[in-house]
Amino acid sequence: MFIINCPYCGDRDQTEFSCHGEAHIPRPTETAKMTDDEWGEYVFFRTNPKGYHRERWLHDHGCRRWFNALRHTVTDEFVATYKIEDPRPPIPGEGGRS
């Protein structure tokens, strides 16, 4: 059990939230021109890192808002949570790479 900081509500229990996969995947704009390979890339392929990962989270039982989180997939450490429109917080130990 751990605590997640909702950017709108503050610190809340993890059971109020659900995770919805990798964040910052832009929806294709010219869908009619896309090949099957490009569609497959967009729909199915994810970076799936062992380490820091940017994810979309939803505060289901709270304010029902979407936000992003920077989480370590091994340690479950939440480095930061941030609103959709906020700049991406840097990944720790990588010289501020975002």
């Binding site: 059990m1 709108y8 509500c9 503050g10 809340r12 229990d13 059971t15 109020e16 289901d60 039982h61 709270g62 304010c63 029902r64 808002r65």
Partner: protein, 183 residues
């Protein structure tokens, strides 16, 4: 116009045990409001419709007797009101242009009081209701068992209100009733 008595899911059920009193409130008119609550348009609408200001801290509520305004999200508020909810909703849509929905029958409200209230709530909610953390005038959307609730703190005695969805009302009520035997 006479107000007909409108049914509530628990038919005004009550729990009255040692240290805990629970009662379902009568049918309460509720309106869900969406909009930019920092704008003057919204502020004007709230003032004319409800006599209220739009400034409200996150997870807080205010009441002026006739109406109560709850923070639900950055662009979402909920009101309990003695006025006609349909009228308020349509006037809001006219004046502000953003969504307003009569949600009176989405949910019911339980009033919990007595010294055991906090123990009962933390038995089902992963939320800190210690008086230092959850003060009078604060509200929180959280979970009670498997039911999403809107919890609000109305008095230090303490008096809490738990708004729960219509279809989860019986579940939450039974949960409270059983837990009350153990806390």
């Amino acid at each position: 116009m006479d107000n007909p008595v409108i049914a509530t899911p628990l038919n005004a059920a009550k729990i009255d045990t040692d240290g805990l009193t629970v009662a379902e409130l009568g049918h309460t008119s509720k309106v869900n409001l969406r909009g930019d609550f920092s704008s003057s348009t919204v502020n004007n609408a709230l003032t004319t419709l409800l006599g209220m200001e739009s400034t409200l801290a996150p997870n807080a509520f205010v009441s002026n007797g006739a109406s109560t305004l709850f923070w639900l999200g950055p662009n979402e508020r909920l009101i309990y009101t003695d006025s006609d909810p349909e009228t308020i909703a349509s006037q809001w849509r006219d004046q502000v242009g953003t969504g307003a929905v009569d949600v009176s029958d989405y949910s019911t409200v339980l009033r919990l009081s007595g010294p055991k209230v906090r123990d009962v709530i933390v038995s089902g909610a992963p939320f800190d209701v210690h008086p230092d953390e959850f003060k009078v005038g604060q509200c929180a959307q959280t979970r009670f068992g498997n039911a999403s609730i809107l919890l609000s703190n109305h008095a230090e005695t303490p008096v809490f209100q738990m708004q729960v969805r219509w279809s989860f009302a019986e579940y939450a009520f039974e949960y409270i009733k059983r837990v009350a035997n153990y806390v």
